[in-house]
Amino acid sequence: LAKTTQPISMDSYEGQEVNITCSHNNIATNDYITWYQQFPSQGPRFIIQGYKTKVTNEVASLFIPADRKSSTLSLPRVSLSDTAVYYCLVGDTNAGNMLTFGGGTRLMVKP
């Protein structure tokens, strides 16, 4: 069974806010939610991590509802350079705390 579920792809335009939602119905009490960004032919890059409520950094915000069964990555005012694949990961305590990459969301930002 998939650990996380994300939309396969999303389109946006420059300057818009983009929200990518990830479902993780089986999240465990000790699991954290982490998002990575990957550009073509590069390794993934950490964006943000959270456990509950809201986390914000210079790149993005992460919204996590009280039941923690989903999370939303929010990218403010995207630019063309934000075109990438975004992965939502949930800590898998059954696998010794190793993170498993799900399918990812391919975000295309258009001019």
Binding site: Q49, G91, M98, F101, G102
Partner: protein
Amino acid sequence: DAMVIQNPRYQVTQFGKPVTLSCSQTLNHNVMYWYQQKSSQAPKLLFHYYDKDFNNEADTPDNFQSRRPNTSFCFLDIRSPGLGDAAMYLCATSSGTAYNEQFFGPGTRLTVL
């Protein structure tokens, strides 16, 4: 700058010919990972080292082996590459558990002829 370095960036090998990919890090992280990423797919964890302790994922084929001679270096050995092993191989490091941020190298793209 501290970083994760992978060499070579592109590797071509022949079917069945052993190949070794290398990874080095200047972050002094105690955990190092190897991922396989095929085209249009998510990275898939092959194994990781927590210090000197090797941890193999259950579904990683025996054809894949790894060595970590010291903190800075980690190698991925593919004993008999098949056509299905053509992929991007990503090395990553973290300090402590996987909950901590993983720093990825640029990857080595392996072609099997």
